[in-house]
Amino acid sequence: MLELRDVQVVFDGFRALDGVDLTVPEGELRFLIGPNGAGKTTLIDVITGLTRPAAGSVRFGEHDLVGRKEHQIVRLGVGRTFQTSVVFEELTVLENIDLAASFRRPLWSLARRRRGVSEAVEEALARTGLEELAERSAGVLSHGQRQWLEIGMLLAQRPKLLLLDEPVAGMSGDERQRTGELLTRIADDHTVIVVEHDMEFLRRHASTVTVLHEGRVLVEGSVEQVSADPRVQEVYLGRKASDAVGNRP
């Protein structure tokens, strides 16, 4: 489904990604972890077209993603969320999701007034549990609700591959719980890649984990395999464990 080969990214002489290979088969829920500066977000940026790699290939199905613009990649079925959620505060929750769901329509047809709510939107609202808030403006949502809205917008796009960048960062325990459940349900019928720091969350929901370190893939495997790996322990525990793996504020 998604195949990265020897991806390299250089920022002003700094090698953010140094030859990453990554294969994610269809239907998998993959976690990406690694200490700060390991290149997790950069990897997501490369896949979604935000950052152009200096070398390497990114294949999604039969498409080569390198060199395509962000919106073109979305149109191929790759969607993402952001660490700091960006939703459109002046629009209502419903409008936010509706906008996400409508991108395949031709531009001129958008000029018509929206009537009713499409199936994709209803579904996204239901899955994220935001039905009650549908008519509220997105500006009044709490941090957790915003993340759910982001995920809802992502679902409404009906993507084949979802990339979630730290979906539970800054959430309360309760919210974490709900997000985790949401995630598992989504993973049932989607391919998902999650960047996450939170080990607890990881243990509970991850199937396969890829550990990045200094722009390279360190190990890949199940949660048990990975946490047992001495290199991972060195990377994380060699320094202060809490510093690297702990919950970020």
Binding site: T48, K69, E70, H71, V74, R75, G79, R80, F82, V86, V87, F88, E89, E90, L91, E95, D98, L99, A100, S102, F103, R104, R105, L107, L110, A111, R112, R113, R114, M153, Q157
Partner: protein, 342 residues
């Protein structure tokens, strides 16, 4: 049905005043002035769309207004010349009608070009600029430079455009004598109807998904990319729409006022229109329209009373609006109203 009526009641009231009361009550000279303000209001409507909703601050809207005006003026000049050369070409030493001018003898072509010409330029500039993600202040400065460059270009091509003088001395439009008060009244009505129709259309657009998308592009252009839309396309289309409106306004302006000159499309008039929109209230389309009419009227009134004060007033008004009432007159009214009801 009743809801629709209630929704449109204010619009209907304004429409009746504009279409019935104004032509009956105002003397021809004042009606002409009002027609002029309404032309500006059409441009302002476009600015309200592109800046208020789309967040693109265009300081070159005068260029599009001017291009529309020049298209119309070329047609009027050619009818007046009646097969000969327009007067300014004679004294500029031009001997044959330039090829560029020939098709403008056709009124339909001239009117279409008045709208399409500006849109084309907006599409070209928009594509070049937005695709490279040049935005915000950079875009504003570039449009301002466009206005400056366009003025110099028009002034420099005296044989083609009439230079600094521009074009004036028009006698008839579609066979109607422009000097007649009745013609001027008809023109006023035409301007008012066009403004009303464009207002309704723009309001519809703003309330559609497209309008939501535009606001989304304004507030988070990069995020919109990840919703699968191309913000450059959305922005370019919007910019072109506003350019088309400005062009149409220019085409209407010329027979109403009887002159088009580079002075109308430079940096200052372009900025003045933006000021008007800000004063009226940029977040609401009605605010843009109101602002253009009010500022147009204020300018006339002030320069009739004490000319020197106009710059002070305009400057001060602007500083006040931006610092104290960034939502403009409409915003203040809204606040007052809310204060009263609660």
């Amino acid at each position: 049905m009743i809801r629709m009526l209630r929704r449109n009641l204010p619009f209907a009231t304004v429409a009746v005043i504009a279409l019935v009361a104004a032509p009956l009550l105002l003397e021809p000279f004042r009606l002409g002035l009002l027609a002029k303000y309404l032309c500006y209001a059409i441009v302002a409507l476009g600015i309200g769309l592109v800046w208020g909703k789309g967040g693109m601050l265009t300081l070159g809207q005068g260029v599009f207004f001017g291009l529309g005006g020049y298209s119309m003026a070329m047609y009027l000049k050619l009818t007046e010349a009646g097969g000969g050369l327009p007067d300014f070409m004679v004294w500029s030493g031009v001997e044959h009608l330039p090829a560029l001018w020939v098709p403008f003898a056709n009124p339909v072509f001239a009117l279409v070009m008045a709208v399409l010409g500006p849109m084309l330029i907006a599409v070209i500039l928009g594509t070049l600029v937005f695709r490279q993600r040049v935005r915000g202040a950079y875009f504003a400065i570039l449009t301002q430079a466009l206005a400056a460059a366009m003025v110099i270009l028009l002034v420099g091509q005296q044989g083609l455009t009439g230079g600094t003088n521009g074009m004036t001395n028009f006698f008839e439009l579609f066979g109607q004598d422009l000097a007649e008060d009745s013609t001027q009244r008809l023109l006023y009505l035409a301007v008012a109807v066009v403004l009303g129709a464009l207002y309704l259309a723009t309001r519809q657009l703003v309330n559609s998904r497209y309008g939501r998308l535009l606001v989304a592009v304004r507030d988070g252009e990069d995020r919109v990319r990840f919703l699968g839309y191309d913000p450059a396309l959305v922005k370019t289309v919007t910019f072109a729409l506003s350019a088309g409106m400005a062009g149409l306004a220019g085409a209407l302006f010329v027979p109403v006022v009887g002159i088009i000159s580079p002075a109308l499309l430079g940096v200052v008039p372009s900025l003045e229109l933006v000021v008007a929109v800000a004063v009226g209230g940029r977040h609401v389309l009605a605010g843009a329209v109101l602002g253009a009419v009010v500022m147009g009227y204020a300018k006339t009134a002030f320069s009739e009373q004490f000319a020197d004060g106009w710059l002070y007033l305009q400057g001060a008004l602007f500083i006040l609006v931006m610092t104290l009432a960034p939502k403009g007159v409409i915003g203040v009214m809204g606040r007052l109203r809310r204060a009263r009801t609660t």
